[in-house]
Symmetry: C2
Subunit: 397 residues, 2 copies
């Protein structure tokens, strides 16, 4: 089955046709022939983007598809964690169904690749992991999903969690996670040694949540960098959020940037209007790999994340007062190529031969696409049209 997208503008550049066959981009050029049997989509001069990448989210815990849940937690991180466990226990949702619903929600908005942190705990065991793994399997033709084994309720303070995380990796979690080794576990040596031991033993990647601000966060980055070098894990480690990079003085920041670059450690950001976030343009200029995510969407942490990565790129621009086109395009890069690189998607992009994960956006330039983030005109996942005019064409899970 082939599809010809007529008169679109890849990344906002000159108008051309894009031919898709067997799930891949097989041709680009002016006035490509549409043989019999080729479906034709009118690109109408829209900007064509590669599929959006949401490389930091929590598919397992969303409340999507259930009645509106007014936010009920206190403000501290520990309040949010405790409240979430209470809510999820009360609602008794199925992580497979919830993650599937969220995948459809994200596809509708143009996201075709997802790195999801998934809760592992002594209370829930591997239940969430198995649910998201089922969704990963069920949706494999539509969306690439990477799973991070994530100790949401703590790791060293919850004996048994590290073993469960290792078990998840054995069963197919591509990434081992972590959570505020100082702030939550109060045992940075213990948590980081355990995480890196799992990665060293199983060859998986690492992606550690780090909300801790100031020097508490900074020493954690020091420790992560040291272990990355010791184990030769350069290029395989991500620090998510890393609020401390937006919250320390320039001299300390410059030192950390050197460490991140020398050890090729990536930084994931979700924006977060109310927190200091890493200075994106400074980090990127220094050669640090960065990518973006929605964080948890419509879950017990709150309703403010809505799972639209084009809007998330906008929020990153808004957060840093980034008004120029190259800067806005950098934010879009975090939500496209940056995430794809982190996820190791080798056949990602708009070149001939790439997987046909494509998004048509009614806009004149990529910057305009980000600023207005209108409903996606068309979303194609692996060559299949899955949404039109902002509405999913897939059967509801």
């Amino acid at each position: 089955m082939a599809t010809l997208i007529r008169q679109c503008r890849p990344r906002g550049e000159g108008i051309c046709d894009v031919l898709v066959s067997d799930g891949r981009i097989t041709g680009k050029g002016a006035d490509l022939a549409a043989d019999g049997g080729v479906a034709v989509i009118d690109g109408s001069g829209c900007v064509l983007l590669p599929g959006l990448v949401d490389a930091h989210t929590h598919l397992d815990k969303t409340l999507i598809g259930t009645p509106w849940h007014p936010h009920s937690a206190g403000e501290r991180l520990i309040d949010l964690i405790t409240n979430e466990r209470r809510v999820l226990t009360e609602l008794d949702l199925d992580p497979a169904l919830q993650s599937r619903r969220m995948v459809h929600h994200m596809l509708e908005r143009g996201t075709t690749a997802i790195r999801s942190h998934v809760d592992i705990g002594t209370d829930i065991g591997l239940r969430h992991f198995h649910g998201v793994a089922a969704t990963r399997e069920a949706c494999t033709d539509l969306v690439a999903i990477q799973i991070v084994a994530f100790p949401q309720t703590g790791m060293m303070i919850m004996p048994g969690v590290a073993d469960l995380m290792e078990q998840a990796v054995k069963e197919g979690a591509e990434v081992v996670g972590g959570l505020d080794p100082v702030g939550i576990d109060r045992d940075p040596k213990g948590q980081l040694d355990a995480i890196f031991a799992i990665a060293g033993k199983h060859g998986c990647e690492i992606d550690i949540h780090l909300h801790d601000l100031g020097e508490m966060g900074a020493i954690t980055i020091d420790m992560i960098a040291k272990r990355t070098a010791a184990l030769g894990l350069e290029g395989k480690v991500t620090i998510s959020h890393a609020f401390c990079l937006g919250d320390i003085d320039d001299a300390r920041l410059d030192g950390l940037i050197t460490l991140l670059r020398d050890n090729d450690i990536a930084i994931a950001t979700c924006g977060a209007g109310h927190y200091p976030i890493p200075p994106i343009r400074k980090l990127r200029a220094a050669g640090i790999r960065m990518f973006a995510g929605s964080d948890g969407v419509r879950d017990a942490w709150g309703p403010l994340n809505n799972g639209d990565m084009l809007e998330r790129a906008y929020q990153l621009a808004w957060h840093g007062d980034t008004r120029d086109d190259p800067g806005i395009e950098t934010m879009l890069d975090l939500a496209t190529h940056g995430g794809a690189q982190a996820m190791g998607l080798a056949d990602y992009g708009l070149d001939v031969g790439c997987r046909a994960d494509l998004v048509l956006v009614e806009a004149e330039t990529p910057a305009e696409a980000v600023c207005y983030h209108p409903p996606r005109r068309m979303v194609m996942a692996g060559g299949r049209v899955v949404a039109e005019n902002g509405k999913s064409l897939l059967p509801a899970p």
Copy 2:
């Protein structure tokens, strides 16, 4: 001509029908009769909101309708002001056409009332004012527009500007503006005396841009409050942006809040992810009137403001990490009733008798409407359906 909106949920509450006749809400209830000739709109359980109110914008300077303009200015306020004059001179746009285009853009997103600051300067004279006044006249059936005579390039540093502003008020500007009396004019006494003299003489309201941070902003508020009391202008003065309220210590803030309340001075905010903004919930809890606006949309100040007030309410929630429903609804209130009150729209709201400025949003609750801000299902302005499914039904200006 009458229209019946079936099965909608005013402000997210119980399902009912809403009858509109002769531009006003004339009935609300279950299963209202649709007599012959009554047009019926299927509300489908959508949330019904009153028309959104954008009570701080700059209709005269938008570049909308022209090719995408990559942002080109430096970062300082004065760079932005100077750059804008250069861009506007080069493009030579018609303020009447541009403001008309922006009104249509805003209507499409559900905005039915607008307070627009309009540039007055010795270089441009009253050209922008006359343009927006023409739009105000042409669109009077669709949208309420209030004009603020605004000295964008300075007031005391540009002799003649105060006289032009007074002339604009004589010709129908409802509000006299101002701009950073310390930071731009470096003559707070001069600028504020001139503004209050115009207001005292002509009985107009006052709305002063105040970007100055910290104590520079705080002393300006002191001075505005003193003059408000002296002239008995309580309830007629607004301070726009007032970043300093997000940038001073609690004791000074509490003193300013008392001043604002005692003199019934309103605060307008546009969010601005990268600046300290007034602490909305604290000010509202103290009884301060507040309202919201888009600020300049797609203009030479940058492309980040997109003219969607439902999304702007979301950005206000995002900025302050406001996750609970009452808090999110407060942000929506700033974009609806707060602005309507400031603009003196007596017949605003969802009660029988109110002007039929109505917005249908596919959502379960007002908080969900804010968090997802989907394309508006239907926008009605003065009883006329002007947009459906996010697309304007009006002829392009």
